[in-house]
Symmetry: C2
Subunit: 323 residues, 2 copies
């Protein structure tokens, strides 16, 4: 009988879920609106219904080994989601305990989405065989998962790996966390948009981006403009890479990883973001680290990456218990 | 028969060594001039002679389990000292391999001095029972040892934990590493001296420190002035704590440790350095980390701390091999 894990990635708007086998093949997937389920209990009922339907739809017999959950502000040790600013459920949600009322699978495990992505990369992506690497997710926010000695770094409280909230400029941009100048306000998709608007204000450089309102602008439009040699767009990528590259240089001084993976919306801009980030990272590295650390795009299949990472948590947990 | 380890801490001027038992008791100690032995082979001969003399002098029968070496730019994986700017031996020194020609103890292990201090703190000091903590050494330079999941973070190349070379200000002070604005240029003993001289130049504040030449000034004099309410000295400690506290806040976002230990010359200034560092660290922490991370003085016995940490490497290695 085929062993499978259920992976779910909980996002602010939608949550995606799927049934994944040990080889990382997604057998069936589904989606649930997060926002429409204003109470966590309603969400769980919808989730349980979807899981049962997916399992019934499968043509083969499977044995479900567990559920892996990636969620913003997810706490691995406690199985809770704590004060996630982008979720409709407020306060502390004891998600793993609640799920245990619906399912008696051997493993139900939760962590934040970037940590799940790191485990996915280690199990199925470009980090296979690596013991020390960092995963950076450049999306609506900036998340990170740090792997040291082959294990994810959770920290003493389960909240390690908030590289997106390393302070870049104490007088800098307002961040959703209530502070100013976090990396996330520069190196995320909204961050590069803010950079574009600063450049539009600071310079007189002609740019097609001057015809687009703030609320219409997004990272895709900036990427397209860069492809057409728009100077403002190119400068915005360079500035973003400078900020990100400098922080990555400091991260290397901390854990000296073999590679740093970039994942998510902004990473899809390819060389436009990788080249300046690599350049400024190398420029700021201590001599002993220079030309050693690979800066790589994630190799996870984009469409299933989030649920692949979440499901991988289940196998990773099994391995840890077997140790 | 009592099991013992030999610990040696290699410094730029002198190296201290000792025979330590499993309980961290130093049975006998010695010192060798590092600088006087211009060739590593000469140093090793002096070291071997000292070790044999110490073992002969012991009143009890002992079984030597190994040698633990703390050294600047020490590489754990390769057993090498690599391009240490403060040592008289240049290039790459394969110290562990060289030592094996003199001794056939089961374990000969090397790492940098701050990593050795971290292991010592975990085995004999305030970090007993902690799985996640950071050791910061504030001496001539700023070193660090990061412990995650109960293991020291060596990184993929053995050089992790260079928090002293996190960049604080890209236009900042010249650092011995060839760059500008590393934490070490502010938060070390020479760093606070540089801060004092900046404050003497920037302000007209009366201070007894105005009577002391740069080459005569040191951290002890500044500490004494602070005890006498000298405003320049107090401001220098506050500024040092601000720079250090901000970097520690970023370190917490990375590995979320239970505690951060401060060790070495500058840490001996007690509240003068701990209070501002704690204040600015808390001020710059992401909300989920606030009031959780302890900032503590090292509990290692000052006189033997360096060799205690080095010897602890031997027991730590045994434990790892037993896993």
């Amino acid at each position: 009988m085929k062993e499978v894990a259920i992976g779910i990635d909980i996002g602010g708007t939608n949550s995606v879920l799927g049934v994944i086998d040990r080889d990382g093949k997604c057998l069936v997937e589904s989606a649930i609106s997060t926002r429409a389920h204003t109470e966590i209990e309603l969400f769980l009922k919808a989730f349980a219904k979807d899981v049962n339907r997916m399992l019934e739809d499968l043509k083969e017999d499977v044995q479900v080994k567990g559920i892996g959950i990636g969620a913003p502000n997810g706490n691995y040790y406690l199985g809770t989601i704590e004060y996630a600013p982008n979720l409709i459920w407020k306060g502390v949600i004891p998600l793993v305990d609640l799920m245990k009322q619906y399912f008696d699978f051997p493993t139900i495990v939760l962590t934040n989405d970037a940590n799940a992505a790191a485990i996915g990369e280690m199990m199925y992506g470009g980090a296979q065989g690596m013991n020390d690497f960092i995963m950076i997710t450049l999306g609506t926010g900036v998340g990170s998962g740090v792997v040291v000695n082959g294990n994810l770094v959770y920290g003493h409280d389960g909240f390690a790996g908030e590289i997106g909230h390393i302070l870049v400029d104490p007088m800098g941009r307002e961040c959703a966390c209530g502070r100013r100048g976090c990396l996330e306000t520069y190196a995320s998709a909204p961050g590069i948009k803010r950079t574009v608007f600063e450049l539009l204000a600071d310079t007189s450089q002609p740019s097609r981006l001057r015809d687009i309102a703030y609320n219409k602008m997004n990272a895709k439009i900036i990427h397209d403009a860069a492809k057409n040699d728009d100077k403002i767009a190119l400068d915005a990528f360079d500035f973003t890479g400078e900020i990100l590259g400098k922080v990555l240089a400091d991260c290397v001084a901390f854990s000296s990883p073999e590679a740093i993976f970039l994942f998510g919306g902004l990473a899809n801009a390819g060389d436009f973001i990788f080249k300046p980030t690599k350049h400024y990272m190398e420029e700021n590295l201590l001599k002993i680290y220079k030309n050693k650390v690979k800066l790589l795009p994630s190799k996870l299949n984009g469409a299933h990456a989030a649920i692949l990472g979440a499901s991988a948590l289940v196998w990773n947990e099994e391995e840890k218990q077997g140790q």
